[in-house]
Point group: D3
């Protein structure tokens, strides 16, 4: 199920900043010089590539913030699967505003749709299996909120949003504490009752220790498919199991087949290709 768009009050600062970044200190000097103020047009956001729409409300917000006279109509809302040539939204209003906001709008829309589409590809590759696709904190600076939203639109789920909303104990934490047991104990003594605790484990021995400590989830780091299978068997439902790294539509089915609960991928947010969407003039 597609999540609702983020409230406009959450995305407005990002969109305003992006518009100012592009308008610079003089505005759109090309359009201002050439296009008469009274020129009107109807345009459409059109897919040049198949994928999943994400960020449409943000893109339309860019047009309306640039010129409130631009009217926008959504044809294919966030979460829609689109084919090449599909119309995603229709805009009517002043030509100037459309030209001046076009690039910013598309930068949001194409990037977020790219993430949603890549996520959907992995999700579909494991359809029918229990595993969920989840993102990481490997996001691009300043864009975490919208990138993680795009993951949800693509059918994925969110891992931690930051350092503050979940415990994830890694090897360096264990080293600093002296043992897994001590690290978990310290964390558990500090956190609120709505905070879950996940532990990174490298070996099955560590995994057993973790299960004794009843952590909520274990991150199986750098394990082979065979190790993962054994890990899943060992866990036997006592914690969630997360496999990470190099998850693609090609590799995902095998990993999911090990029975892990979660496939986490940093690449979805840090390295997704853009989805090609353009603004067509009618």
């Amino acid at each position: 199920m597609t999540p609702p768009p983020l409230p406009a009050v959450m995305t407005e600062p990002l969109v305003r900043a992006a518009l100012l970044e592009d308008l610079g200190r003089a505005g759109d000097i090309t359009t201002d010089a050439i296009v008469p103020p009274q020129a009107q047009a109807e345009t459409a956001l059109v897919a040049r590539q198949a994928g999943v729409v994400a960020g449409l409300d943000i893109a339309l917000q860019a047009f309306r913030l640039l010129d409130p006279a631009i009217r926008t109509e959504i044809a294919r809302a966030d979460g829609s699967r689109i084919a090449r040539g599909d119309t995603i939204a229709v805009l009517t209003g002043p030509v100037r505003g459309m030209l001046s906001a076009e690039r910013v709008a598309l930068n949001f829309l194409c990037h977020l749709s790219g993430i949603a589409s890549a996520t959907a590809s992995v999700v579909e590759s494991i359809r029918g299996q229990r595993a969920r696709v989840v993102c990481t904190r490997k996001t691009l600076p300043g864009l975490r909120t919208v990138q993680k939203y795009a993951i949800r639109v693509g059918g994925g789920f969110n891992h931690r949003f930051g350092l503050d909303d979940g415990v994830l104990i890694k090897d360096n934490h264990v080293a600093a504490a002296g043992s897994i047991r001590e690290a978990v104990a310290r964390a558990r003594a500090a956190i609120g009752h709505l905070v879950k605790l996940e532990l990174e484990v490298d070996t099955l021995a560590q995994l057993e220790e973790a299960l004794d400590l009843r952590v909520d989830a274990v991150l199986l780091d750098n394990m082979s498919l065979e190790e993962m299978r054994r890990a899943v068997a060992l866990v036997n439902g006592r914690a969630l199991t997360e496999a990470s790294g190099r998850i693609t539509p090609e590799t995902a089915p095998q990993v999911a087949a090990t029975g892990v609960d979660l496939l986490s991928s940093g690449a979805l947010t840090h390295s997704s290709r853009t989805l090609d969407i353009g603004l067509d003039w009618r």
Copy 2:
């Protein structure tokens, strides 16, 4: 030649925002609970993949803003070609700060190094030819300044930074003005003497009109290699020629061989993969 790092005063707002985005409302709850304040470590940023370093000063700024007690030493400055396993910088100081800033620092460093590395690949693929590799305005919102810096670090050059620092007349501008001639005349009447004017052309007929108008550059839109060659011959040095779209290390040599001056690529900024760099603990 590698450009100097951006002044810290320019990147500080971005780095602070990225740290706050990750620290959220409670900070690094895992590290704070587990790692003792007095714990010290020496760590190193190490390449897990060959490429070109970009954004190192920004990454180190993240560590120092999180904890000024962290000392940083640069081994391979921005612009350095690195091989897998190379040490890029060494950090010494409190473990807590290193763990808490690690992800933000790497998010900047891996993303910008990814752009620089992708740029360098294209640049190298056409070494010996006159063409330059240039970026576009297809950047990720809020990151234009640092993404365009990474392009320069990779040996590329910057196209416009925004709508305000160069004229780029596209087909919709021409349509609004009625003719190329009128569009160029309007722009020229408005712009300052340090602003250049580039015109997008689809056909050789348009190109001839553009040359008569003595524009500084022409963007050859969607032309075949053969058309580009003829365009370059027609231009004969009277304007710069820009070829755009689908520029990769594989396609670039052919495009460059047409004699165009500029190969522009949006993908370098909107779709570059991250360069894998990690923080190693010693």
Copy 3:
């Protein structure tokens, strides 16, 4: 165990804003006119009332941001129990800066110490019982991060930091979904694997339904002590139980004696009295 101070990068925007709010458009006109620039002093933050220190690093940050020449030394760090007359920190440096930053520093320190002290009072009143004291989202606008930090300093624990880091299903959510079961199902289908789910229940019947759904916690709304006891028995460890409302050092022991896991109090953040701390001149 007292949590470490929040990183300075997290509190600096708050402190700068508070200083500017007080300095206004002309600065400290009294001090600037009267006190010579070369005047130096040693001063001390001194408790005028017993309690628990919280926000000391923030207070000292205010002095140093106003004048970096002010040197600060901590005598009783955050989390310390202090008696009337205890010295909390010593400052040396220019008189002007001390006078100009004094009120802002104390506004933070007295407010946050007030919260920590009130929290500690409740925590102590139930010492030996299993229940934890937790805060709510009833915080003062803009101060959530530091208020929730003060709760931890006082020995309490944090409930959700916002609408985004935990699910809390209330009666209106249930009404919109049609049933508890449907509400829980919808939430569970949407949330990440590190997000916990708590449900507000008014009756034991609702509680039984909730337990079937294996929610992580139940909020026992407006229940009598007797109802809470029966609720705890019914739950029998299958979920955490939270009692809310009107928790004071006087009422807490009885509530805790029902066996609930969590006593939540909005008053700790929205209505705590300040702890009286002053700046003494030596």
Copy 4:
């Protein structure tokens, strides 16, 4: 007479910041998952306790910023005395927006109404006497503008808004200057003609010196009721007299009976309890 609400342009940054503080990086995950977008409701802000309304426009601004489709109607504007059960405002519109903005809106409204109500209690306790109730700079960081507004709504008056809009000479200033006379002279030589000058005095001897210097007001620090009476007699209208500290509805009448002009209270802003107001669903 109740002051008009603060202009929306002044409170909007505060309200936006409070909404973002609560929405965090994912928004209201509970409501978004459970409540359908088309669900509509009528709700009301209802007093659960008698008091004085303050901050209603700010609370309603929170709802409308979260969702402009929420319509709001004021029943009891700021300054209204309300009894338990009174409807303060009625809201109609999307359920989602109401649930997502509810806590932020109430955090403002309950806090500011708490201050106004506490202020009104003191004001009423001295009805018929000449003394005015005034606030101080002991406000909560970032909230000075709205807290001081709530003081006015409650029938109190504002003391200085910051260090820059009035001179208040305290003992440390006098010490730095060498004498009261010199301190006053220095201040007077520096300040604009619309800036008033108040002096803190500990003894009647100091008071006499102050009166010779024709200061606008004197702050009687730590004086007994008897001392205050004698101070007022000595002043005999030549300056305003301010009594500060521990002003409550119980103590205020006695203090006011000494004839002082001003009763100042820091507790009204730093330690007022919230006024209990809830959102009822119809």
Copy 5:
């Protein structure tokens, strides 16, 4: 031809900041106390002096941001020549909002109209000659975008907007490089294809060297009229020539008569007198 107004999204942050700067921490205490909320008025922005209007949209934005109930109608848009007594815009709506926003609105309008008017005076003084009037980076901090806009409104043209959108090589750059040739070569190797290069020259010898290097423009520094004439002859159209310093309506014709292409003036932005415009009440 007058440029279109800057997009509202670009000026809104400036206008909000200016309103808050004036409203301070209590708002318009005079108006709020005295003027009843229901009072309505019609007012007009009226010229008290002849000149050129600039910044009208910004001024009207100030009124509407203060109170959206204020309706505004433009009589003489930016770029209009106005005579003393001319009505520039008419406002209708609440008296309170008009009084509270009046000064901020006028501060923008009078300052920017002052710049446009001063620019127009110089522009007119050289009517019929080829030279253009251009501004510099000698702008008032924070106001560059709007000041440079006012220059365009007055018929002038913009020089660089910052350090980043054009190369201007001055004597210290040449000194650091060792020679003009080396300085130009280094710059050319670094800049994008849409960036122009201007060189400051002190002597005709330097000028010859510059022309060999085919720079886009030369800044003739501190040259006499005779030297300028010889410089223009020497250049003979191979670069643009810029004369700078002490350009007034009195001196401009002589300088323009030397045949230079550009007359640059810092005084237009850093020292223009305000244009006297007032708000008349009807």
Copy 6:
């Protein structure tokens, strides 16, 4: 006596914004390309014109924020009278940083010194008379704090800083209230005890009414010198008298000779010419 510099925490946001405004999205492309990183220099801020220094700390802050390696030494602090050729401050450090910060530093220093110098000229023109020179709210948007500081440095005094720190009743307020008496009564009922009240009067009849109401100051609007003399006689010390408008070193002595207490000038902040100060390279 010269006021102390504004605290750095107050001016830092302005200086950072000004640097970013000039550095744009690519930084100082000329200097970065041409000047080697290791190049060092000693430079000096030198007066090219006689006047009064103001804003020096702000200018030096710009250099140090751009590059903390730049060391600065003050030779003539704010408030110093300088002659042409005087060295104001000496800087040593990296050439790059000096060139990149130069313009921003000078924009602050020349503008604020221009205001201080203009103020000092008027102040000196009435030396020996009782009248003070005061500024108004006719300041340039965003610069009020520093412009009003420069007024003080020049020997002037500050009028209101905003709409919130003093009552100034003008004709439109009186019209809305029905009478001067009612307007004053309403204001007095609302304001705090440290707020003064000034009334604009057009006629001697109004003046008499004002004196009866014991306002703190009267603004004599558009009165002839003779009327002012009579007004001053009528007031006879019962209120401060302010003459406004067209105050210059030439007109001020006559106005001051009427016996008024205050000469207010908007031109000092909205129309002062810059003081010419340059950066000399040694």
